[in-house]
């Protein structure tokens, strides 16, 4: 029933008085009653912790008589040993510094030895001149809450542990992948007398296992072999084919370095291994380099199995594809045709091999157009006559420029004859 500002009926006025009294009686609360029987513990202590006043609720929780507590015990006497340490090292300094402190989880020790979790808040009462007079403290029963918190804490620890484990697993997997990845590519290219080499590799796959590959290695005292290719597909399955391809080509080249012969051996190995329900193929260019120390020229013999044609950048500033038409994708047929080609590199000439990650990079508005062979040839023309390292640097910049348009692995290998021949044969 609410009082309004309006003049009310005398009958009603009497009734109102009666219900007010009933309401007050219902409340029954004196301040003293409220203090003693509040649903929380109250404690007032001197600044040294001596208990000056304590309410009945807290006494009941503790199982102690008032006479045994007031003037005889200190706040810390109510706490467990761990609580005492926490009080001295955290609670008391904080209270001194802040003048108040809330929601600290402590445990009180009851007379029967049982511990009871409580949440404690304290505030320092100051005198008129600002000097601290006493500390008022409330205790809330935190038994249920503590159980709940422990549950949360357990869950959090379990989650943290699972996260740690997942991180460790991920790191281990990453290490294993790095080792596998490094087995698919040469760490460094061998030094070839009278030639310069440069390579670049980047993978679009997040596990860093790519399907592109390349290698350069000696086959005898004077000749070197090289290859570069692309396994159809991505990820670990592609990497397995890459591994088979790399080591088969290396072994085949030592047995018979003729390019068509090496690719035929590889073709048989891949076809035999992957002719089942999950066929796998690759494209590759394999070739040999035969430097002629007398002329400084290098004879290149190569063959392609379904791979985009190599580019030859000439010292005179031109660049052209070295056609290898008719070479079939490796691994499709038990006996596949491969297309051989030959060229000679003179001083300032560079042979460039690449995978279709480069020519099929998506460019332009909406990433709808492909970079394309002609654009690559034009780009190569611009850099013809420059040493392999410079050509590679330019191509790396080109790849960077594609940004997210580069959605496939890309491998690049440049093999060139320096424009200015060293005056001595000593490698520097």
């Amino acid at each position: 029933m609410c009082r309004t500002g309006q003049q009310s009926d005398p009958h009603d006025a009497g009734g109102e008085k009666t219900s007010d009294a009933a309401f007050a009686a219902l409340l029954e609360d004196s301040t003293e009653e409220l203090y003693e029987c509040a649903p929380c513990g109250y404690l007032s202590t001197l600044m040294d912790g001596t208990i000056a006043k304590i309410n009945k609720t807290l006494l009941d929780w503790l199982g102690l008589e008032r006479e045994a507590v007031v003037g005889r015990m200190r706040f810390t006497d109510l706490l467990t040993m761990g609580g005492k340490l926490y009080h001295e090292t955290h609670f008391a300094p904080l209270l001194r510094m802040q003048g108040e402190l809330g929601g600290v989880a402590l445990e009180i020790r009851k007379a029967d030895g049982v511990r009871m979790p409580v949440l404690v808040s304290s505030v320092v009462k100051h005198g008129a001149t600002g000097e601290p007079l006493l500390i008022r403290t409330t205790f809330f029963d935190a038994r249920d809450r503590r159980a709940y918190e422990e549950e949360l804490l357990r869950a959090r620890k379990a989650a943290e542990e699972a996260h740690r484990q997942a991180e460790a697993d991920r790191a281990r997997l990453q290490d294993a992948l790095a080792v596998l990845q490094s087995s698919l590519l040469p760490d460094i290219l061998p030094r070839i007398p009278g030639m310069e080499t440069a390579a670049h590799y980047r993978t679009a796959s997040p596990d860093r296992l790519g399907g592109d590959f390349y290698d350069v290695f000696p086959i005898d005292a004077t000749r070197f072999a090289f290859f570069l290719g692309d396994v159809c597909g991505k990820g670990p399955q592609a990497a397995a084919v890459t591994s088979l391809t790399r080591y088969t080509l290396r072994a085949a080249a030592l047995h018979d370095p003729d390019p068509v012969s090496a690719l035929s051996t590889l073709n048989r190995a891949v076809h035999e291994r992957y002719s089942g329900g999950d066929p796998r193929y690759c494209t590759a260019i394999f070739g040999t380099l035969e430097p002629d120390p007398g002329t400084g020229q290098v004879t290149v013999r190569l063959a392609s199995g379904g791979h985009p044609p190599a580019l030859v950048l000439r010292a005179d500033g031109t660049a052209d594809f070295l056609p290898t038409p008719g070479g079939l994708l490796i691994g499709i047929l038990p006996n596949a045709p491969f297309a051989p080609a030959t060229t000679t590199l003179g001083p300032g000439d560079t042979l460039l091999l690449y995978t279709d990650g480069l020519t099929e990079a998506r460019t332009g508005e909406g990433r709808s157009a492909l970079y394309g062979d002609e654009a690559l040839r034009a780009f190569a023309t611009d850099h013809a006559g420059r040493p392999p390292s410079a050509v590679m640097e330019a191509l790396t910049g080109l790849l960077d420029g594609f940004g997210d348009g580069l959605d496939d692995d890309t491998a690049l290998l440049a093999l060139g004859v320096p424009a200015a021949r060293p005056t001595t044969g000593t490698p520097t």
């Binding site: 600044m47 040294d48 912790g49 200190r74 810390t76 467990t80 040993m81 761990g82 609580g83 005492k84 340490l85 926490y86 009080h87 001295e88 090292t89 955290h90 008391a92 300094p93 904080l94 001194r96 510094m97 802040q98 402190l101 809330g102 929601g103 600290v104 989880a105 402590l106 445990e107 979790p117 809450r145 503590r146 709940y148 918190e149 949360l152 804490l153 959090r156």
Partner: protein, 284 residues
Amino acid sequence: MCPGVPEWWVEPERLLGMEIERRNNVTVTGNPHGRTVVLAHGFGCDQNMWRLTVPALVEDYRVVLFDYVGSGRSDLSAFSEARYASLSGYAQDVVDVCEALDLRGAVFVGHSVSSMIGVLAAGMAPERIGALVMVAPSPRYIDDEGYRGGFTAEDIDELLDSLESNYLGWSAAMAPVIMGNAERPELGEELTNSFCATDPAMARVFARTTFLSDSREELKAVSVPTLVLDCTQDAIAPREVGAFVHQSIPGSTLLTLDATGHCPHMSAPEATNDAITGFLAGLR
């Protein structure tokens, strides 16, 4: 500025010092011409606990304050469980700070476990520390045969539980959930106290290192002037312990402050400050 030297130029050695100053949140204040007094906080808090001590020193002394790595506003990323699993790891922090500021013969004032850390640091770098003030020290908290530290191993486990329950990092993250007030995060934030807040995992390491330590032997090696301050009523370092420290350090002075609790510099600042300044005045 010097011609040819850019304004931001810092000597490499100085850079290393600055790195330590940042790592340990070093504060230098007071009289630059006075003797240097290093104030080192104990377990559970940070340099803020000296705020009632600093005013008594600044006129005559150069005052250096810092936080141990893992406490206060130190660089928590510099924490290593292995290093701080022993008090000598903390003592290395003291030596690092002394070297960064190139202190010589400084007076080291340590509270509680820091007193013992100071003893170790003085042993590690004798030229850096010229005198010790040990406020409520204890070389061993757990009772031993013929020695009363005041605690059992179970008590220490209880403290670790208390730390866990007041996992401040935890409450910062969980309080809004518990209070159901995620849309009013400031309500939850009040649960995390601004001072003495520290990473719970690091506090746990500090607690273990502190309360499981035993530095009684090291006390005998102290050779610098030493003042031992204990309190009439200290739940952590009872008077027997203060007496033990005093008896173990040759030539030390023991002064019992009429104070309750483990932090006399906060609960009885005047008496504590008088004791410290009196001791400092008596040093050559």
